[in-house]
């Protein structure tokens, strides 16, 4: 049981979260919810990277006096990469909310079916 937890289950949960993104984007008809599923997907990627950097016996990657050696600290590289990824997700969110507002202003709806109907009029 413990093996399962440490080796697979966390990856599975993360990948489940990841696939929630495409699922929500296809099946949720509200554009705001599509946006949320996009964000959930990005968070899942971040979790995935952070999970890769885990290390038994490692502490947070900030230098402690007297504690020297790579085996004592968690790998800092995924953290760095994911800082960038978080920032990218915020940027995408800002742009897409702006787009949503414009769409709402013009077509008066954010439901996909209704939107398509009004666009074709």
């Amino acid at each position: 049981m413990r093996e399962l937890f440490t080796e697979h289950l966390i990856y599975w949960l993360i990948l489940f979260l990841f696939m929630l993104g495409p699922y929500g984007m296809i099946f949720k008809k509200n554009l705001v919810k599509k946006l949320m599923s996009m964000n959930i997907m990005q968070v899942a990627v971040i979790l995935f990277f952070l999970a890769l950097g885990q290390k038994t016996g490692g502490t947070i990657p900030i230098n402690l006096p007297g504690l020297i050696g790579a085996e004592h600290y968690i790998n800092p590289l995924p953290h760095t990469l994911m800082l960038t990824a978080i920032v990218v997700s915020l940027a995408t969110l800002g742009v897409s909310l702006g787009l949503l507002l414009t769409v709402q202003k013009r077509y008066g709806t954010l439901e996909e079916d209704e939107l398509l109907r009004r666009m074709n009029q």
């Binding site: 990005q42 990277f49 897409s96 769409v103 013009r106 666009m119």
Partner: protein, 495 residues
């Protein structure tokens, strides 16, 4: 500064982009000058770097002087150098053309447009010359976000298609990033050269297969490979004419280049699961070529027709990738170059016609050849090249693709290429017929007879003519291009 050329390719447009809102507030004319200078400097640096790569071998540039697996490096080899030259050249040409569309706008709009355009350029250039898979992601996001902004500035319908593009594009980027995560998990490295070495013993692992599929899907979405192309037609149709030639011409092609880079250089086409994946890509691409060409015939809007034709043309590049041999590689890279130039030229023409008449429908092109002879001449070259008529560039890339298919005994691909050329001929002939053979209605006619200046203004005409000439020049000079650059670019190349 000579030894800093690889950095300058990307840094110069980036710097000017950052300052453009500030500069625009004081003087939009200064902004225009600076923007052109930045694009020109970038182009010159790219040419210099390519020259160095061809004569003295690949050029590695370390950012912050940290050696590769720890720091980020730029690698200019013949392939990435060639792509950088192509991207920066088209950026420069389209930037000259853009001017007429923006003159009337306020300072903020102009400043933002220049900033986004230069950021798009910098992002795409960064993607081509980087040697680090995560750095590639960062520049992918820069180019995507600026493309969303540029497309969305084209009015209300554009915002809906831009929103769809944001969603789909972010899915693509996330898939790509997850694929990078898999690669990082099993190798511990992000540097391309380092990855190549460390992946060798692992190529039979399932994780590599999944990473490959994730990267393929991610980049497939971004380059609009056939079943993943849903975002493209609307985005190309509704985006403003000042931005779309560059986006349509270059963006999908850079994504295709990334796939070539991954499959030919990092995974290696003959290893592990790669041939299996490539075979699937080949069939999908072949199907996509035919279906998208048929769809293109059904369109009445010129830009939408070009958009579907883009999907088909990206299929050719996928086909070359899937062949996995030298001719396939040469055909794919050659087609990237050709298609970037042709599509850019055709969209410039579409924008020019729109500027003149305000119309995009093919049926309104009647007698356009008399009204704008030079523009339509460039269009004719582009159309011939798309169809693949010999002296133009398009023929030669198809030729290499066919050679590659024959080498692998895949005759069905040969049939697909020839059949799709026929389809191309059909849908371009419709436009040619309108522009050259049909008579315009009398009312329309009187309007343009009175028109004292029939052609476009020089800032628009020159880019169109230059690109039209490029199609011919690339076609005529295909032999030196292939033997001096493309063969050098092939992994383990130079024969």
């Amino acid at each position: 500064m000579k030894e800093q050329l690889p950095a300058l390719i990307v840094i110069v447009p980036l710097l000017i982009a950052l300052l453009s809102p500030l500069v625009a507030y004081f003087s939009t004319r200064l902004l225009r000058g600076l923007g052109l200078t930045a694009a020109a400097v970038s182009f010159v640096s790219a040419v210099g770097a390519l020259g160095h790569a061809l004569t003295k071998g690949p050029w590695h540039y370390y950012f912050g002087n940290w050696a590769p697996p720890w720091g980020i490096e730029y690698v200019i080899d013949p392939l990435s150098g060639l792509m950088a030259v192509l991207v920066s050249f088209l950026s420069l040409v389209v930037l000259i053309y853009t001017d007429s569309f923006l003159r009337e706008e306020g300072w903020l709009k102009q400043g933002i447009h220049y900033a986004l355009y230069l950021l798009l350029t910098a992002g795409l250039l960064g993607m081509t010359v980087t040697g680090d898979v995560f750095n590639l992601y960062v520049f992918l996001e820069i180019s995507s976000l600026s493309a969303y902004g540029l497309i969305a500035s084209g009015g209300y319908k554009a915002t809906v298609s831009a929103f769809r593009y944001v969603l789909v594009g972010t899915v693509g980027a996330s898939f790509y990033l997850l694929g990078v995560g898999y690669l990082y998990a099993i190798t511990g490295s992000l540097n391309m050269a380092d990855l190549t070495v460390r992946l060798q013993p692992l190529l039979d692992s399932q994780a590599v297969l999944i990473a490959m599929v994730l990267i393929l899907v991610g980049m497939g979405i971004k380059m609009a490979l056939f079943p993943l192309h849903g975002w493209l037609p609307d985005a190309y149709t509704y985006s403003p004419p000042a931005a779309i030639p560059f986006i349509a011409g270059v963006m999908t092609k850079v994504m295709a280049y990334v796939l070539l880079r991954y499959f030919f250089f990092i995974f290696g086409v003959l290893n592990g699961f790669v041939p299996l994946v490539l075979e699937v890509v080949g069939w999908i691409a072949a199907l996509g070529i035919i279906l998208a060409s048929v769809m293109a015939i059904a369109q009445s809007d010129f830009r939408r027709m070009l958009a579907f034709s883009s999907v088909a043309q990206v299929g050719y590049i996928g086909l070359g990738l899937s062949l996995g041999n030298m001719f396939g590689f040469i055909g794919a890279v050659f087609h990237i170059i050709n298609h970037a130039i042709m599509k850019c030229c055709l969209f410039l023409v579409a924008g020019g016609v729109k500027w003149k008449t305000g119309e995009h429908l093919i049926e309104k092109y009647a007698e356009m050849s008399r009204r704008m002879p030079l523009t339509m001449g460039a269009f004719l070259l582009g159309a011939f090249s798309m169809v693949g008529i010999p002296p133009t560039a398009g023929f030669f890339s198809k030729w290499y693709l066919i050679l590659g298919a024959i080498e692998k005994d895949l005759w069905i691909y040969v049939v697909v290429i020839i059949l799709s050329s026929l389809l191309n001929a059909i849908y371009f002939f419709r436009v040619i017929e309108q522009a050259y053979l049909k008579k315009a209605p009398v009312a329309e006619r009187e309007k343009f007879v009175e028109d004292k200046k029939p052609e476009l203004p020089a800032t628009m005409l020159v880019p169109i003519v230059v690109l039209g000439a490029c199609i011919l020049v690339v076609g005529i000079l295909n032999e030196p291009l292939v033997s001096n650059i493309l063969l050098m670019a092939f992994p383990g190349g130079g024969l």
